[in-house]
Symmetry: C2
Subunit: 407 residues, 2 copies
Amino acid sequence: MDLAAGPGTAPGHDVAQRRHCRPGQQPGPVHDGPDRPELDHPELDRPGLDRVEEELARFFADAKLRAARIGPPYLRLWEALERAAAGGGRSRPQLVLLAYRHLGGTDAQSAALLAASYELLHTALLVHDDVIDRDTVRRGVPNVSGRYRNRALRAGADAAEAEHAGTSAGLLAGDLALAGAYRLLRRIEAPREVEQRLHDLLDDAVFSSVGGEVYDVELSHAAAPPSMEDLAKTAHRKTSVYSFEAPLRAGAVLAGAPAPAADALQRFGRDAGIAYQLVDDVLGAFGDASSTGKTGCSDLREGKRTVLLAYAASRPGWDRIAGLVGRPDLTPADAERIRRVLVDCGARDHAVDLAARHAGRALAALESDGVPAPLRQRLGGLLRAVVGRVRPGGPGAAPGPAHRPAT
Amino acid sequence: MDLAAGPGTAPGHDVAQRRHCRPGQQPGPVHDGPDRPELDHPELDRPGLDRVEEELARFFADAKLRAARIGPPYLRLWEALERAAAGGGRSRPQLVLLAYRHLGGTDAQSAALLAASYELLHTALLVHDDVIDRDTVRRGVPNVSGRYRNRALRAGADAAEAEHAGTSAGLLAGDLALAGAYRLLRRIEAPREVEQRLHDLLDDAVFSSVGGEVYDVELSHAAAPPSMEDLAKTAHRKTSVYSFEAPLRAGAVLAGAPAPAADALQRFGRDAGIAYQLVDDVLGAFGDASSTGKTGCSDLREGKRTVLLAYAASRPGWDRIAGLVGRPDLTPADAERIRRVLVDCGARDHAVDLAARHAGRALAALESDGVPAPLRQRLGGLLRAVVGRVRPGGPGAAPGPAHRPAT
């Protein structure tokens, strides 16, 4: 379950880029997560994001210079880490910058450092998550572990030794990225109390993510399939907190926003994160409803434990597909059979409704007085676009119980 | 090569606690590192160390309370991490406190936080080092990875799955400890510039340790045996920097000591760290010269790449023992044969002389004007006691070229 990828690999899957089920195709573990195009919006804070890229580039340039003094193997690890940090959609930085700018922040440098810090945290969690999931590919290319594994294989190591070389490199690279997140945070110039709160937020994000990962590992070893509640809690802890809640709240804190605004953004982040994850699960099985009808099936082939499957497992029809889910040699016809059961038993509708309900709650949180109208519109617009990919009418089309239309 | 253990497992090996070579005994990987008794001296800063224990206990109590809210599996990981942090000799905290107190520091609370931060860094590096070395035992009991591996085995996992469960748990626990080191540092109350320098020191320590670990992994996969220079550099980066240089310098910085004193302590730490490592290597092969003549052989059985073996590999007689070193079924007679060659070819004398030379340099660094006499005496006394275990006359007995007697 690739939850640490969060919005990076989540609802923005360009379906055309997904790998399609072809008979006989037996790929290794793949995370091909192009980042959410819907956050890559022309109105976005492009100068702010450029500055984030500059800070990241500076961080890596400095580290590589120091690593080169130690020697080529260390430089190589830093280069692998830099590649791991490249190519993402910078979703977390975008949320930091959005909150910061719209809540009155004017220190572009500190905002960039804060945003870059969350990007490095994201990198650290992705790299370590890949070690735990034994994935060797991300965004279509070998990840840190994959590169080192391949290198060891070329050097003549056997499979087990090569895998361990990949594990070791991924572990160390992730440590460097984690330390880097704290390092960039430390460079922010802000009142002591603000610095302390920013540090606490980062710390809480790490705490929650590791807790979610622990549960994720636990669930994957459990004999019984996880309940929908367990899946949702795990996804929230592992991904939403560090991907949505913390970046939004941190941006608000750095901007010196009053507590109600920061609280509202955090509440928004919480429900938006769950909605994103649900949308991702639906897209993972059905593809993008708003696109040409092409569908992905990597989630089905991996047997990714999603709310869809957890729901279906307790309904009639499950026995017809239980043996297919997770088969590496899944054919398009198999995938289609699974999808039919997911629709017929109500799993798809359930997941879409649940996503809409959480999106509704998230939008309601934005109605707080402390949230300026432009920020409400921006965040609301992003969320509606995401949910619209599985429910073209958007969350407003069929509100769940907690929904209040955001105007 | 267990360098991250540094002074924790290094020269303080109580030889009586080492496992002895018995025919047919084929232990798994073991790190039985009781911490240096020579630092556990009655004159030591016992109230200061008690305060460090309190800070660590508070850190874990708080984390476990929060983890319990997430659920039992997360609490279990924190409990495993707490056990990993227990039972060490607190060598790094002792060095922090020594430097701090003797250089005029009076804020016991901040000193304890700084000292505890280095202990958590040590824990993080040990736990991750064990993952990389695939060790499952430390200080005679299962480490984090070992506990989770055993648990998975009991639950019916096969060997590979169980090992991976151990790897995942070790990786996550180490991340928590690393984040914890930054968290405790953050709680120190000091002028902003001092805080920044303390953060930089911790950061540099992480950077160096990971760099050393990368080299360690590199050397272990190289076809050719590593040179003595490579071994010494790797040991320095992986262990000395975070175990000696950084704690001493950090204590000085927090105390507000002038630069020459901080520089002198760092120089002392550098050479003392190398001396410690060399002494550990000699003890690992020969046991404690000052004790009853009992000898350990776990280093020889593991084939630990030490300066002794690197030296011997280029001398006559190596072909007689090359096939024995690293044999898991090494007998006492085999070990004795190896030791004889290490003595005859001059490897033992070389390592002991080198240790004395570095100790001499370390003592010379303490002669800086900025280092108060009581601190010089304390650090000098500790170092002489260590080197005395392999060279009863101590470093003063046969000074190396860089030696100046410390008076």
